[in-house]
């Protein structure tokens, strides 16, 4: 399978382990990624309330992807939402499309924007992936965390149930780990309040940790760099703010399934996570495929 690839700014920065593990897992799944040339920021959460600007910035990336003739895969839930929303508007809103075609000097016919989780679960498929999971993660208990923009709003890029999504649950189970029920699976991490209202953001995040621990989780599995930024990147700050110890490893789903595929810790850049997953890896029962 060949796909155009839009990493987005964070995957070339704070979420570099998501970029590395995405590439490694796609390679192992026979997906050939072609990064679109000279892509720009989608406007992220900072322009998400400025609808036209967000869609305008995203429209340029869609136009670049269109040149490849391939479907576009995006690992970041925010970028994926923004580019999908822009594609929808470019197809349905003639005056917006006219503005953007003028700004970009090119005609837009429409592309397919897909989140990486959607591609892996629905196109590659759980069965095919299962045959590649040569090192099942027996011994690990995980909670799936979908967050917001991966599943909401469902009118944009829908591939799972917005109230009770299960694609990540199924993937975790297929990888041999135990997937625990998680009451917070689609709750907000507080990402968009991190800079302006940090105390609120950390209450959101703390609640996720509390519930994950109450469920008995050894780790939280995510599919969005913003969720990861709050849960992993800011975990020490949440500990400080709430005067507590959390110590919860947070893996990108690509890192988790990459381990089950037998990919190396180096390829998956597990050393780049801020909270060390070393103790989590110790829990894996070797030769666990029974």
């Amino acid at each position: 399978m060949k796909l155009a690839y839009y990493p987005g700014c964070t995957l070339h920065g704070t979420a570099r382990e998501y970029d590395a593990s995405t590439k490694a897992v796609c390679k192992a799944s026979n997906i050939e990624l072609t990064e679109i040339e000279d892509w720009n920021c989608c406007g992220a959460l900072e322009a998400i309330f400025d609808k036209e600007l967000s869609m305008g910035l995203s429209a340029r990336n869609n136009m670049l992807a269109q040149r490849t003739g391939l479907d576009l895969v995006i690992p970041c839930s925010i970028c994926s939402h923004n580019l999908s929303r822009a594609d929808m508007a470019m197809r349905n809103d003639e005056s917006f499309r006219a503005k953007m075609e003028k700004a970009l000097g090119e005609r837009y016919r429409g592309i397919r924007v897909r989140h990486l989780l959607d591609i892996l679960v629905n196109d590659v498929g759980i069965d095919t992936l299962s045959s590649k999971f040569i090192k099942p993660l027996k011994g690990i208990k995980a909670v799936p965390y979908y967050g917001c923009l991966l599943v909401r709003p469902s009118e944009v890029g829908r591939f799972d149930n917005p109230e009770n999504p299960t694609s990540l649950d199924n993937l975790i189970r297929a990888a041999g780990a135990e997937c625990l029920p998680f009451t917070q699976k689609t709750k907000c991490c507080g990402g968009n309040l991190l800079m302006s209202k940090q105390d609120y953001a950390f209450i959101f995040t703390k609640k996720l940790f509390d519930e994950a621990k109450a469920a008995g989780a050894d780790c939280i599995v995510v599919a969005c760099p913003m969720c990861h930024m709050l849960l992993d990147g800011q975990q020490s700050m949440v500990e400080e703010a709430h005067n507590t110890v959390i110590g919860m490893p947070v893996l990108y789903f690509t890192q988790l399934i990459g381990l089950a595929m037998g990919l190396s810790e180096k390829e998956l850049e597990l050393d780049k996570n801020m909270v060390s997953p070393a103790r989590l890896l110790d829990l894996i029962i070797e030769g666990g495929k029974e």
Partner: protein, 188 residues
Amino acid sequence: MIKTSQLDSNFKYEIANEPGGENIKRCFNCTGCTVGCPVTEIDKGYNPRKIIRKALLGMRDEVLSDDSIWLCASCYLCYERCPQDVKITEVMGAIRAIAQREAKAGNIKLDNPKPLFDNLFINSVRKNGKWHEAGVSGMFTLKTKGIKGLIDYIPMGLELFRKGKVSILPHKIKGKDQIKRIFEEVER
């Protein structure tokens, strides 16, 4: 108490004219947005139903200078669940846009730091095509927390740098002229 003489009956049309604000008049005030809202859960003062009700009544000044319009976390739960498809998250964006214009014109004062961060971010994208994390976050921290805030952030910054997660210099794209034209089109 609401003084009808001070209401601006045009406000709802003003919001409906902003991108994202089109569906505000559909709201029938059912409170579905508010009961599930994660911000309301921790701050009872945050009430999206009330914000929309006030906007529909025409309480323009009160809505635009209300700090709580900057608290929406864009989680899209209300957007998903709204039975009238008001698109509340985007309506919040439309209200924020009007508030920012009024603040720029000197008519109201915005105390919340959210628009400051968003504007630093957006200007970084305007300039380079991508956002410069170290520059934007550094400038925001300096402006809101001063030198001490910046110093407090050094250990985290160094750790990120050591892991190769932040770059000192901004990344610039080649198609900056296209970015400039996009901004011109949407700001027209």
